[in-house]
Structures are given as structure tokens and as C-alpha cells.
Amino acid sequence: TIVAYILRALQNYPLYIRSIPTENELKFHYTVHTSLDVVDEKISAMGKALVDQRELYLGLLYPTEDYKVYGYVTNSKVKFVMVVDSSNTALRDNEIRSMFRKLHNSYTDVMCNPFYNPGDCINSRAFDSMVTSMMMQVC
């Protein structure tokens, strides 16, 4: 199972990229970057439909042959994208949702760090280990 997490700031710069295994990273970069189009689309759709503002989970962005791409957007428009192996049937919508929530919490912790400069690449050991544990759990 391969999982990649990416956090993005408002300007769509990557803040944090992580994938297991690391061989095919380029592909994930492309995948995630491309998925941002869908995220944008979904966000703009959300604004119109006046859906529940508290719902941050965007759901399945799009499925490719091998992977499923999920998205999540915080209120400050920080985007979380997760790419999961499509063969991994253990991951349902609910699991993905809770994973995103966990990710969001950790991200909030990072932001609370007074030494973190918002917009910088995330370089936090706690965040790293959280992501690693989450990935391990999924794999």
C-alpha cells in the first residue's frame, strides 16, 4: 500500500510531502499536483452550494487506475491530499475522514508552535512521526 500526504498552503505550494515507498515520488507529485484542480473545483462548488462550512472533507477527488486520491481542506484553505492504493479495501470513507482529522490536528499543533513560520515547509519531528505512524497503520 502506498500512501502520500501533502499539505498545501493557500498558494498551492507544497508544505509537506511524504510517501511510502519513496521510489516513485515523482509520479505522486504529478498526481497530487493535478488533483489540486479538482480540489479547486470542489471548493468553488462548495461556496455556491452553501454546504455545511464545518465539513472539511472533500471526499474522493478522483480515482486513477492504481490509486485513489482524497482531499480535505481546512477553513484557512490549507489542503490535504492523500493518495491511497486502490487495492486497499480496508480504507473506507470513514477511515479516510478520521485520518484527515488526525492530520489536521497535528497540523494545528505545528501551527501553534511559535517558532514555526507559517508558509514554511513543515519540519517537525512530532508531525513526521504522526504521519509515519499513520502510514504504518495503513500499510
Binding site: 515523482l26 507529485h29 504529478y30
Partner: protein, 1419 residues
């Protein structure tokens, strides 16, 4: 035209395609090649105005013509059918895609399941030049029949069995007889009817006379396009029909509504040109001026050779041809089609009822009521079902196709629809898919669009083609159609999905084009999906490169790059850059390639090491190619490794010579030292001090501290000075950002030199010049390896041989990789091979990097504060000045560890290594008490270090033991020791012999060191100052630095107090004092020092001297083991000579007297004294600054009374065990006694704390204390010390002593009153006259006093007034009267003193004298 229901139907813009009768289906390989060529030829125009699309926050610059609403290719249909000429669709998609699509559609072979590529009519053409034209017509007619109906010719497919034949007689006006042609035509008319034949006259103009008239080439607009499509060379077939054999099956634009007209050319020995025109002539009507042509091979050959076509045609000929086509269409073709449609329609109607019912009945019978359309998946295996060509099921399709061709889309749609149902019923999937496809197209093309476009028809068709029929070509056609239709309806995402779905592995070119189109769809969406665009562009680029379309690939990547650039997607960016680089390289766009590779390398790469290595090698390879192209150009700037230019350091002078044996060179300054602002400030101060002193107390205004090492902290605003023949070292900080090591070879500096003596400017731009030039020598580092992600300094030297101005510009080097034989992974094999060659050669590229250092930001004036301006940085622009002397200093036997107060002798060697004599050598140090070169008496000591191996550092004299305990007196002046002359104590002249050091000469001088009084590590800075004998304008002096590090450990702590002695042993000689010296061994090292011996105590003072030791122990050896404390008591007397000279008095406890008035003892004494003075000065300045003014003389006098300026020197020996050897160390401690009764220490300390606190704490306290002084907020006036002297001070004015018998025997029985004589001695200690009042009355204030004193009385005068002169001793006879026995305290007289000339009486009670007890005994 009328349709089967006899309704009028208008046809517009009908186009006719004319082809050779005998054609071959194109070979798949040929098609592929053809398509490839089409695409690669079509490139975006250079320098076209950039087309900027703004999508979200992206501005995309798409330089090809593909754009906004990429307009569907079917604009031909639109133009013709829906009058969309004026619509906003103004431009097509990308041109290469269009030409690809066109060629693709044209190269489609005709297939059995549809009739769109089948021929409708046949033109039979015979030249009028034939002998028997009519017979020829017959022959041709038979031939056509044979071709159509015999199984020999499989390929040209015919629409209907009875093909329309149209007979054309071609008459070449220039060659044949007109009448004959006319007559033959008449014959033809009779035979075939006027409707079926035509006489075409052409070539009215002679072929030879067309040169002067310019007539536009009528075929040009068609030939240009088609010429590409016929790359095959012409073969001369043996067949009589020459052209036919090899002609391609050519279709003009707009496949589906073209009508095939076949001209079977009769070319028996005909003129080739004539033949061509005949067989290929076609024309569109409707006044659209289109002349359609499918060029023949002959013409093609001419095209390539540049011959214009149709030069024999006049304009009337053109009209004739046009008219001919019109005739043919109106008279022959359309009626024929009309008729055929009607026939087919009739057939269908007649058949309908029967077949329908039959079919449905059987269906129901066998398989229930299942509707076949919905069960496509079940029908997979039926795709093989084939109808015979004349099968009734096909008739309806045939009719539909015909209707479609004549643009009757409504009818066509209904026919297709019916056909589709039939085919599905029969489970003939291929046929069904074809019908579905065409149904969808005709539904779309219907004017007014009565029904919605059935997109699902298309989807089904595509799926069927692809999955069931496995016919990718048909599927592709279907997708192309569908995508265009969807695009025209703005359903871009659907179109994109469709296009992407068709990409597959079997055709890279197709995939690439489709992906690119899909990408364009994404960006044309209402909400443009830029990232998807970019991603698909990359995919397309990849496919293009696989298909060998390098330019297209490059273009795709470049466009995608716009999206990824600078957004932090480094891996993707690197990938794109790399691909761009490689594609550019293969396209020989070397500059682009270099810059793309450069990007990969200089951006903070997150690639793995192997990848970076590959990038680097490829970059080097490309670079090498670039440089080889222009070998004479300027050296290129290299991007790697990074240079941290602000970290560049410049050092002037030779490298430090390492220590030679015992000799230890002066540390001076070197590049190895870290910059320390504090110490550099210290050095600067020291230099200022010495320069001030040299310039008689004034610091020159142009003074500039000597800077040997320039770095980012130093003041670089002025041009630094370097000396000729001395190297200039530049340290460049390289950083390798990559994970692979970089190898720099032949690394050297680039510089420019301007000799000052010559007006001509010499530019030493390159190394060659430098080598051939003896002005500047440059050092070259042959190999410099920087490991991965390493920061490494390179030190490069220049040797200036002439004076002038030097400018260091940058570095020049060969950049290469270190591994010669690394795996070439990840490299395109073709490039890899070439690259491999270079790797073996140690691939490297010569280039340069400039050193540009930005100066500090200026912040002085207002403009500078409000703007951002930077000052100059002249670090790299030294001025080479004339020769200067160069001093080297070596220390011999210089210790690293000392005990506090230890005296050690070392030697200093001064060497002048330059060619100039050196003079005015001086040393400055903040700690002058640390060392001495000896005073004037220094020459007495042995000069060479070897001669004095184990001698004492002191000058000693053997004494006889009898003289123990009494002082040996000598005297010396402080001037002899260079102290107290008003000079700054820190600057010390070095006593050079003759005060000049000649070139190459060396001098060894002794130097004594005195361990600092405080424990710990001391860094002591020496600054050696020297000048040249000649004066230079640029450089006045030079300096040499040395930092000595001394570690001191605790030794002794000396504490001394002085108090007045009460005795008057030497009456008349003045007063005397007792000096108590406490010596404590506070050494803590267990192993090191065994014991200390006090060998001598000396005093020196201007007024006082030690006379003798008071309590001498028996063995008179003062040994102090660890933590032992000894107390010594001395008697001090006023000495006679009170001039400027100091009196030295030595009290010796050992066998040898150390002459304290000689070097080094006295040196250090005076040094410490001056330091002490300075310290107290500053302290008193701080505390009493203002108070001093209000002090009047009197107070000072009084104060002086209690002052002693006695200095005690304790000389000791320590027995130290080191490496099982016993060593004897010597040392001295100084105690300065200022005030009576006050404790003084060998080094300043706060009372008692030191023993409690740890040492470090103690130091902290000491460091803090001066600051705490400064933080006082009082104004000086307020802190003024009381103007009155303190009682304590006053009490020291007069010393009183009572002399009386200790016990007195008196017989009270005989006489009741006992009278005892008592002498009161009064001694004036001050320097002035003092009035004294002695009051003998008892005080009765305290009850305690009553008790004691009440029992005796003083007799006689109870108050005396006296005046005592300076130092006078006066004895007063008193009588005490006792009435009974007992012990009495006689110390009751109160003595008041005041200065004689003082009006106000400082009356104060005298000191509380010791109880003077007397015992009165009764006998």
C-alpha cells in the same frame, strides 16, 4: 435535389474528390510514416505573438495557435452547412493536430461495413488525339466493369453495382484538331446522351510562351498540402495505365461528404501533362472558387523541382474545367444519386413489412422479448458476422450514406437509426457501431438540431470498435469526431475524458496528440484546470518524444513548465527541466539545454544522489558541447559549486611558520583563526595606543588599523594594503549543494592588475597572461574535491611582484565529477554513450565564477536609512605597496602553565625576514605586569637561553647566615625600569641592540614572565610594532600579533596589615610600625606543588623600609605545605632618604639574597605598582571625583597621617614534583599597603568572600562590580565624601604612649596616698604642626567607667595645651594618685588634636588606647 418524398433539398458546398481508379489500400507502415511526417513538419511559427491565457493565478503563454475554444476541425461542414462562417470560431486547434487528423482520415481505407469511402461514379476520359476515341471509350467502359465486378480487384470499392459512367473527351487545343474533337463529341452525344458526356478543351495556350504572363498556379493550394503525402517515389509500372498504378488513394478535405469520382485515364502515349490534367481535374462548384485536385505523381515531381503547374491553362480553360465539373455534377452525379436513393428507398419500403415481422417473430420465438440494444456485452462474438456486399441489410445503410453525402442529414439520421436497429438485432456489431457513429454525426449536423446530440451513441460506437472489433483506427476516427462535436458544444471535460481514454500503447504519436488535445480541453473549460493541463502536456510530451517528435515534445514540456515553475514542486520541476534540457540538446538548442540543466542543479535539489550525478554528468556533457562550439568566447559562468562570496576572506602575508623545536612562533594572525570581535577590538586599541605614543600622544587622523585578514566583519570600506613580494591569500567558501562530490581542477584566481608605475593598463584576465607575466604569480590548486553537501574553503594565493592596484575578480576552474566510472543510469542510451566517453576522459568543463561581494548596508545618513544602499567592499582590491620590513618573533622556553606570581625566564627571538631594515620595535600589551625585558641592568644576566638552563631567574648574592633577620638595604629609581616616566605603561620598548634589526638578522632577548595573580587561563595579547627605516606614504608601520595563553594555578595568598607600634625603642628617629604578613598556601593541586618556602620578604617604599623580622622561628625556614598558613611580623621604620628613589629592604630567610632592586624583581614590582596605581586612580576617580575638590589641604594632611606607602614583596620558592623530577620554581607576590590598619592582599579581592565562593563565582563578582559602580544614579555632589576627616583618620595624628612601672609597691599603712609618676609620650605622626589638648579629668559618663576609674586621680594640671611640630615627640610628666591597692587602668587621659594652622578645631577624642594597667601593691 429532390429526396424520395419529392421534397426539394438544397445542397451547398458540395465537394468532389477525384481519384484514380486503380488504387491500393495504404500500407499501415506507410500511413504511420506519413502521419509522423505531417506532424513533424507542422510546427508553431517562430516569433508568433504569444498567446497568453490567464487561468486562475496562472498566466500561460501558449505560443502555438491552439486556443480558446479550440475550434473543431469540421469547420468545413459548418461553413457549408450551417453558415457558421461568421461565427466566433476563428481558429483551429493546433495545426499539427489538424493536419494529422486530415491525413489520418484521408488515409482511412474503405471498409465493408460502410460506404463512405466507396466510389459513386466513374469518369472515363479519352483524349481527342486518339485515333479511335469512341472505341477507347468502349474499352474503358469494359475495363471499369471488369474492375468493379471481377474479384481480381479487391480494393476500389463501389457504391452501387451500376456505377455512373461519365464520358469525357479531352481536347488539347494546342495539339489536336478542334473539328475532329467536335465531331467525336457529337458521336458521343448520340451514343451516351448529352447528360452522360462532355467535351473538355484545355491547354489553349502554348506551353512555351507562358513565361511572361503571371497566372496563379491553380493547383498550388492543393498540391502543397498533398505533396507531403506522397513521399514514395514514382515507379514506372509496365502497365499501360502508368499513373494509376502508383497513385495514392487521395481524398481531399472533408471525408464523409466527399463524393468519389473516378477518372480512369486513358493515357496511351499521351502527353504526360495533358494526361494529368485530365485525370485529376476536379472542381467544386457553387462559386467557392475551389478547385480540387489530387495531384498526380508527375506533377508532384515537378513540384519538387519547382516547375509551376497549369501554365498551359488560360483563364478560360479554368472556367471550362469549372464548368465541366458543374455539368458533371448537375447532369450526371446528382441525378444519379437521386435515382439511387429513390431506388433504395423503394426497395426498403417494399421489404420493410416482411423483414420486420419476420425478424421480430423469430427473435421472440427463440429468445423471448429481450431487446438486443441493451445487451451489447452478450454479443461479443458476433463481430465476425459479415454481410455479403449486396445483402439487403446493407441497403439501408447504403441509402443512409448517400443521403449523408448529399447533406440530407435528416433522412440520413433516420436511415442510420433504422440500420442500427437492424444490425443490433442481427448482432452485427461492427455494422451497428458504424451506424451508431454516423447516426450521431448526422444528428449533430442536422440543421436546427431538432433532437439532442446522442452522445451515448458515440460512446457505444467507440466501445464497440475498440473492445469488440479491436479496430483502433475506427475507434480513433470515432473519438476524433466525437471529441470535436463535444468541443463545439463546450463539453470539454467529456471531450478530454474521451481523448484520454483512447491513448494507448500501440501508437505514441496518436497518444501524444490526443493527450495534447485533452490538455487543451482542460484549459478551455469554464473553470480552467491548469494543473491537469500541465500534467497532460507532460504526458503528451513524453509520448511525443517516444514518437520521435522532438520539437513537439520540447514544446509540450515548456508549456507544462509554466505551471510547475517556482511552485515548490521540485521533483516535478526537475523532471521537466531535465527533459527540456535533453530535448533541447538533441535539437541542438544548446543554450536552452544548458540553462535547463543549470536549473536542476542550482535549485535546492531533492533528488537522490544517483539522479543528481546523472544530471551533473549530462550537464557537463552538454556544456562541453557548448564550449566546443565557441572555444574563443569568454569563459562561461558555472553554476556549481556555490560560492558564499560574503564569507570570502583575504589574508595578506606569509603563512605562519610552525614552531621549530623549542621555538614557538608568534601566533600572529592566520586564516585558521576565527573572527572574534572582542579580540579584534582589543588589537585595534593596542595598535592605537602604540601609534599614539609613537606620534607623541596624538593619533594621526588618517590612522587605519592594520588589517591582515579581511572578512565580512572587518572594515572593508578602504582599499587594503598588501606588500610587494608577500602573498595575498584568498579563501573562497565553496559549497556543494549536490549529493554527489564535485571535483574542481586547476583552480586558480582571476585577477586584474594595474601597475602603478606605468600608465598602461595591464589586464591579467586569464591564467595564460598571469603565467607569462612576472608581475603577479598565481597559485593553482590542481585538484579540489568537494564532497556531497559539503562546505569547503579553498585558499588561493597570488604573489605580487610589482606595486600597483590588484583586483581579484573571481575564480576559474574545471568543473567535473569525481567518479570516473559511474553507472550511467537514467540516461538516454544515445546520450549516455557519448557521455560515457567523456566520463572516461574525466569529463570536465572550464569556466569561471565571479566573486562579487556586497558591502554592508549603509545606515548613516537619512537617505541611507530610508533607502537601501550598500557600501563598497574592497576586500578583493588590494593596493600593492613598496617593500616593508617583516618581523618574525619566536619564543623560546615559553611556559604554558605558571603558578600565580611565579617568575619564569624565557627568551624571545626577533628575526627580520625582509629585505628592509627594521626599527622602532615596541611591544604593547594590556598586561604589562606579565612580562619584562628587564631594565637597564638586564645586560648582567646571561643573554643566551642555553647558558641559563637551571639558573634562578633572579639575581642573587650569597649572604652569611649571621645577617639574618635584618634588612639589607639598596635603592633604585623607578625610571630605571621604564616605569613612572609618564609614558603609558603598556607600551614597552624592546631593547634592540643599536635599535635596528638588519635584513636577515636575528636577536635573542631574555624575557621574564610573572604569573598573573589570578588563577585560571589567561590570554595575553602582545602587539609588536615596528617601522621601516624609510618612510612610506602608504604604510607607516607594521604590527605583529601574539597571543600567549597561560594557565595559572593558585599558589600563595599574601595578606598584610600594618599598624603603629607603641614602642619607642628608637626614640628620636621617628616612628615605627609593625607589619604583619600572613602567607597562606592555597595551592590545590595535590600532586604538583609539594611546598612553598618563603625565601625573602622585601619592602620598597619611598618613605618606609623593613628593618627586621620580629618573630623569627628557630630554624628560620618558612615552609608552607598545602593549606598551611604562616604569619610573619616585621618592624618597619621610616627611612632617611625620601627622594624620588625607592628604598629596597630585603629580609632574607635563606642563604641567598635576591637583590630586589634589580631585574626582574624590581621590574615586576614597578609594573604591578603602576597597575595598582592605575586601578586605585580609576576607583578613586569614580568614587571621589567631585569630593576631591572640596578637600582642603588640612584634611589631606590628616589623611596622609594614616597613609603608608609601604610595598611588600614576598619572594618564594616552590618545590614541585613533575615527572618524578623535583623542580624549584620561584615567584613573588606584591602587597601594597596604603592605610594603617587596613588589610591588603596580594591581589585585589573582596573581603573574605573568596573562601566561601567558588572561584568562578568570584570572578563573576569581580567582573560585575565595576559595572555596578557605573549604574549609580546619584549625582557626584551627593556622594561627596564628608569634608571632615573620619575620627579614625584623626586618631592617627598623634600617637600616645604611657610609660609607667608595671607594678608599684607602696605601703599604704605608712602613707595613705600613693603617688606614681607616669610619662605620657606624645608623638606627632603628621607632617604638620598639631595642637594637642590633654584632658585628664575623668569622664563620668558611663557607669562602667566610674567603677573602674573612680579610684585614682591625676594630680597636678588637668589640662595641657601643647603644640607639636611635625614628627616631634613630646613627653609629659604626670602623676597619678592611688588610695588603695589594686589594678588600675591608667589609660584615661583624653587627647584632642587639631592642626595648628586650622581655625576650626577638629576636636576629637583620641584613640581608645590600650588599657594601661598598673598594679598597686601594698607592702
Amino acid at each position: 435535389m429532390r429526396d424520395p418524398n419529392n421534397q426539394l433539398h438544397v445542397i451547398k458546398n458540395l465537394k468532389i474528390a477525384v481519384n484514380n481508379i486503380i488504387t491500393h489500400p495504404p500500407q499501415p507502415g506507410a500511413i504511420r510514416k506519413l502521419l509522423n511526417d505531417v506532424v513533424s513538419v507542422s510546427q508553431p511559427a517562430e516569433g508568433l505573438v504569444a498567446n497568453v491565457i490567464t487561468a486562475g493565478d496562472y498566466d500561460l503563454n501558449i505560443s502555438d495557435r491552439s486556443v480558446k475554444a479550440s475550434v473543431p476541425w469540421y469547420n468545413n461542414w459548418k461553413d457549408t452547412l450551417m453558415e457558421l462562417n461568421t461565427s466566433t470560431f476563428y481558429s483551429a486547434t493546433t495545426p499539427w493536430f489538424e493536419s494529422y487528423r486530415e491525413s489520418f482520415l484521408q488515409s482511412m481505407p474503405a471498409s465493408d461495413h460502410e460506404f463512405l469511402n466507396h466510389y459513386v461514379a466513374c469518369m472515363l476520359v479519352v483524349s481527342s488525339g486518339e485515333t479511335e476515341p469512341v472505341e477507347q471509350f468502349l474499352k474503358l467502359s469494359q475495363e471499369q466493369h471488369r474492375i468493379q465486378h471481377s474479384s481480381e480487384y479487391a480494393y476500389p470499392k463501389w457504391f452501387t453495382p451500376n456505377t455512373l459512367k461519365y464520358y469525357v473527351l479531352l481536347h488539347d487545343v494546342s495539339a489536336g484538331e478542334e473539328q475532329r474533337a467536335d465531331s467525336v463529341y457529337e458521336e458521343m452525344k448520340q451514343r451516351y446522351g448529352t447528360q452522360g458526356c462532355y467535351l473538355l478543351k484545355i491547354n489553349s495556350r502554348g506551353s512555351n510562351r507562358g513565361a511572361d504572363e503571371q497566372i496563379p498556379d491553380p493547383w498550388s493550394q492543393y498540391l502543397q498540402k498533398n505533396s507531403i503525402q506522397n513521399p514514395e517515389s514514382y515507379e514506372d509500372g509496365p502497365c499501360t495505365v502508368i499513373a494509376n498504378k502508383n497513385a495514392d488513394h487521395l481524398i481531399s478535405d472533408g471525408l464523409d461528404n466527399d463524393i468519389r469520382v473516378d477518372g480512369l485515364s486513358n493515357n496511351f502515349k499521351a502527353h504526360p501533362l495533358q494526361l494529368d490534367h485530365l485525370s485529376d481535374t476536379s472542381s467544386s462548384f457553387d462559386g467557392t472558387d475551389y478547385i480540387k485536385n489530387t495531384a498526380s505523381l508527375h506533377e508532384l515531381k515537378k513540384t519538387s523541382s519547382g516547375t509551376p503547374h497549369g501554365t498551359c491553362l488560360t483563364l478560360t480553360d479554368h472556367d471550362r474545367i469549372r464548368q465541366f465539373i458543374q455539368e458533371f455534377t448537375f447532369r450526371g452525379l446528382l441525378p444519379h444519386i437521386e435515382k439511387t436513393i429513390r431506388q433504395l428507398n423503394d426497395q426498403l419500403i417494399s421489404r420493410k413489412g416482411l423483414s420486420r415481422s419476420l425478424f421480430s417473430a423469430t427473435k421472440k420465438w427463440f429468445s423471448g422479448s429481450k431487446v438486443p440494444e441493451k445487451s451489447i456485452n452478450e454479443l461479443k462474438n458476433t463481430s465476425g458476422l459479415l454481410y455479403p456486399p449486396e445483402a439487403p441489410e446493407l441497403q439501408i445503410r447504403k441509402m443512409a450514406d448517400l443521403c449523408f453525402l448529399v447533406q440530407h442529414y435528416e433522412l440520413a439520421y433516420s436511415c442510420y437509426h433504422t440500420a442500427k436497429k437492424d444490425f443490433l438485432n442481427d448482432q452485427a456489431m461492427l455494422y451497428a457501431a458504424g451506424a451508431l457513429e454516423m447516426a450521431a454525426v448526422s444528428a449533430f449536423l442536422q440543421p436546427g438540431a431538432p433532437r439532442p446530440y446522442p452522445a451515448h451513441y458515440m460512446d457505444t460506437a467507440i466501445q464497440t470498435y475498440r473492445d469488440i472489433c479491436k479496430n483502433m483506427i475506427l475507434a480513433e476516427r470515432c473519438v476524433l469526431l466525437s471529441a470535436e462535436i463535444l468541443k463545439s458544444q463546450s463539453k470539454y471535460s467529456d471531450a478530454a475524458a474521451l481523448l484520454i481514454r483512447l491513448t494507448s500503447e500501440d501508437s505514441d504519436l496518436r497518444s501524444a496528440l490526443l493527450l495534447e488535445q485533452a490538455a487543451h480541453c482542460f484549459i478551455n473549460m469554464k473553470g480552467p484546470m491548469v494543473r491537469k493541463f500541465a500534467f497532460h502536456m507532460i504526458l503528451a510530451g513524453h509520448r511525443f518524444s517516444k514518437a520521435g517528435q522532438k520539437k513537439h515534445a520540447l514544446r509540450c514540456y515548456c508549456q507544462a513548465m509554466q505551471v510547475y515553475k517556482g511552485k515548490g514542486w521540485s521533483l516535478a520541476e526537475d523532471h521537466i527541466n531535465f527533459t527540456i534540457g535533453r530535448q533541447s540538446f538533441t535539437l541542438r538548442q544548446l543554450d536552452n539545454a544548458v540553462s535547463a540543466f543549470r536549473h536542476i542543479l542550482i535549485n535546492d535539489s531533492k533528488q537522490p544522489a544517483a539522479q543528481q550525478g546523472a544530471f551533473l554528468r549530462e550537464y557537463l556533457y552538454v556544456y562541453k558541447n557548448v564550449t566546443q562550439l565557441s572555444p574563443d568566447g569568454p569563459l562561461p559562468q558555472l553554476p556549481l559549486p556555490y560560492i558564499n562570496s560574503s564569507a570570502t576572506r583575504v589574508f595578506f602575508g606569509h603563512d605562519r611558520r610552525p614552531a621549530e623545536g623549542e621555538k614557538q612562533a608568534a601566533t600572529h594572525i592566520s586564516l585558521d583563526q576565527e573572527y572574534d570581535s572582542e579580540s579584534s577590538q582589543q588589537w585595534k586599541e593596542l595598535e592605537e595606543q602604540v601609534v599614539t605614543m609613537v606620534n607623541k600622544g596624538i593619533l594621526p587622523t588618517n590612522f587605519q588599523p592594520t588589517q591582515y585578514c579581511l572578512n565580512s566583519y572587518s572594515d572593508n570600506s578602504k582599499f587594503p594594503l598588501a606588500v610587494v613580494e608577500e602573498p595575498v591569500t584568498v579563501e573562497v567558501a565553496f559549497r556543494n549543494p549536490l549529493k554527489v562530490p564535485l571535483l574542481l581542477t586547476d583552480l586558480s584566481l582571476l585577477w586584474k592588475f594595474q601597475p602603478k608605475d606605468f600608465s598602461a593598463k595591464h589586464n591579467g584576465e586569464t591564467k595564460e597572461l598571469a603565467c607569462g607575466n612576472d608581475m603577479i604569480g598565481a597559485e593553482v590548486i590542481a585538484e579540489f574535491l568537494i564532497n556531497s553537501e559539503e562546505t569547503k574553503m579553498a585558499r588561493l594565493k597570488l604573489f605580487p611582484h610589482q606595486t600597483g592596484e590588484l583586483h581579484i575578480l573571481g575564480v576559474v576552474y574545471n568543473l567535473g565529477t569525481s567518479q570516473g566510472t559511474m553507472m550511467l543510469d537514467g540516461i538516454d542510451p544515445s546520450i549516455g554513450l557519448q557521455a560515457g566517453k567523456f566520463v572516461c576522459n574525466g569529463m570536465s568543463v572550464r569556466g569561471r565564477q565571479d566573486l562579487e561581494i556586497q558591502g554592508p548596508r549603509l545606515n548613516n545618513t537619512k537617505e541611507e536609512k530610508t533607502s537601501i544602499t550598500y557600501g563598497p567592499d574592497r576586500r578583493l582590491d588590494p593596493i600593492i605597496t613598496e617593500e616593508m620590513p617583516l618581523l618574525e618573533v619566536f619564543f623560546i622556553n615559553f611556559p604554558t602553565g605558571l603558578l600565580c606570581g611565579e617568575i619564569r625566564k624565557a627568551y624571545v627571538e626577533f628575526v627580520n625576514v625582509s629585505k628592509c631594515p627594521l626599527t622602532a620595535l615596541k611591544v604593547v600589551s594590556k598586561h604589562p605586569e606579565f612580562f619584562t625585558f628587564g631594565g637597564n641592568t638586564a645586560l648582567l644576566t646571561p643573554l643566551s637561553p642555553s647558558a641559563s638552563e637551571n639558573c634562578s631567574a633572579y639575581k642573587t648574592v650569597v649572604t652569611d647566615s649571621t645577617s639574618a633577620c635584618t634588612a639589607l638595604i639598596s635603592s633604585a629609581s623607578s625610571i630605571d625600569f621604564g616605569v613612572g616616566t609618564g609614558n603609558q605603561a603598556e607600551v614597552i620598548h624592546v631593547p634592540l641592540p643599536d635599535s635596528v634589526l638588519l635584513p636577515g638578522a636575528s636577536v635573542q632577548l631574555p624575557m621574564w614572565l610573572h604569573g598573573p595573580d589570578e588563577e585560571g587561563v589567561h590570554e595575553i595579547n602582545f602587539l609588536f610594532y615596528y617601522e621601516s627605516i624609510k618612510k612610506h606614504s602608504k604604510m607607516c608601520h607594521r604590527v605583529l600579533r601574539h597571543t600567549a595563553v597561560i594557565c595559572t594555578s593558585r599558589s600563595l595568598n599574601v595578606q598584610a596589615t600594618v599598624c603603629r607600634s607603641n614602642s619607642f625603642e628608637d626614640e628620636g628617629k621617628g616612628d615605627n610600625m609593625l607589619v604583619f604578613v600572613d602567607v597562606e598556601n592555597i595551592n590545590t593541586s595535590e600532586a604538583g606543588v609539594k611546598e612553598f618556602h618563603i625565601v625573602q620578604v622585601s619592602s620598597n617604599s619611598k618613605h618606609w623600609m623593613l628593618q627586621k623580622a620580629v618573630n623569627v622561628s628557630e630554624n628560620k625556614d618558612y615552609k608552607l605545605a598545602n593549606r598551611e598558613r604562616g604569619k610573619l611580623c616585621f618592624k618597619a621604620v621610616r627611612c632617611k632618604n625620601s627622594g624620588e628613589n625607592y628604598t629596597f629592604a630585603d629580609i632574607v630567610f635563606g642563604d641567598e639574597q635576591i637583590i630586589s632592586s634589580a631585574s626582574p624583581c624590581a621590574d615586576f614590582f614597578f609594573r604591578s605598582l603602576s597597575c595598582e596605581l592605575k586601578r586605585t586612580h580609576t576607583q578613586s576617580n569614580m568614587s571621589q571625583g567631585a569630593a576631591k575638590l572640596s578637600f582642603d589641604k588640612a584634611v589631606r594632611l590628616i589623611q596622609k597621617c594614616s597613609e603608608v606607602d609601604l610595598n611588600i614583596v614576598v619572594l618564594w620558592k616552590a618545590y614541585v614534583v613533575e615527572d618524578n623530577k623535583q623542580l624549584i620554581l620561584e615567584g613573588q607576590h606584591h602587597v601594597v599597603l596604603h592605610t594603617l590598619g587596613k588589610e591588603a592582599f596580594s591581589f585585589p579581592q573582596k573581603q573574605g568572600f573568596k573562601k566561601i565562593l567558588g572561584n568562578s563565582d568570584w570572578e563573576d563578582l569581580e567582573q560585575e562590580s565595576p559595572e555596578m559602580f557605573l549604574l549609580k544614579f546619584f549625582r557626584p555632589e551627593n556622594t561627596s565624601v564628608p569634608t571632615r576627616p573620619t575620627p579614625e583618620q584623626l586618631s592617627n595624628l598623634i600617637k600616645t604612649t604611657l610609660h609607667y612601672p608595671e607594678s608599684f609597691n607602696h605601703s599604704f599603712n605608712q602613707k595613705s596616698l600613693c603617688l606614681v609618676p607616669v610619662t605620657l609620650l606624645l608623638s606627632n605622626c603628621s607632617q604638620a604642626d598639631v595642637d594637642v589638648i590633654i584632658d585628664l579629668r575623668h569622664k563620668t559618663t558611663s557607669p562602667e567607667a566610674l567603677e573602674i576609674h573612680g579610684s585614682f586621680t591625676w594630680l597636678g594640671q588637668t589640662q595641657y595645651k601643647l603644640q607639636l611640630k611635625s614628627q616631634e615627640v613630646y613627653s609629659l610628666q604626670l602623676k597619678a594618685c592611688f588610695v588603695r591597692t589594686g589594678v588600675y587602668n591608667l589609660g584615661t587621659p583624653r587627647v584632642f588634636a587639631k592642626l595648628a594652622d586650622q581655625v576650626t578645631l577638629f576636636e576629637t577624642s583620641q584613640q581608645n588606647s590600650m588599657p594601661a594597667l598598673i598594679i598597686i601593691n601594698n607592702i
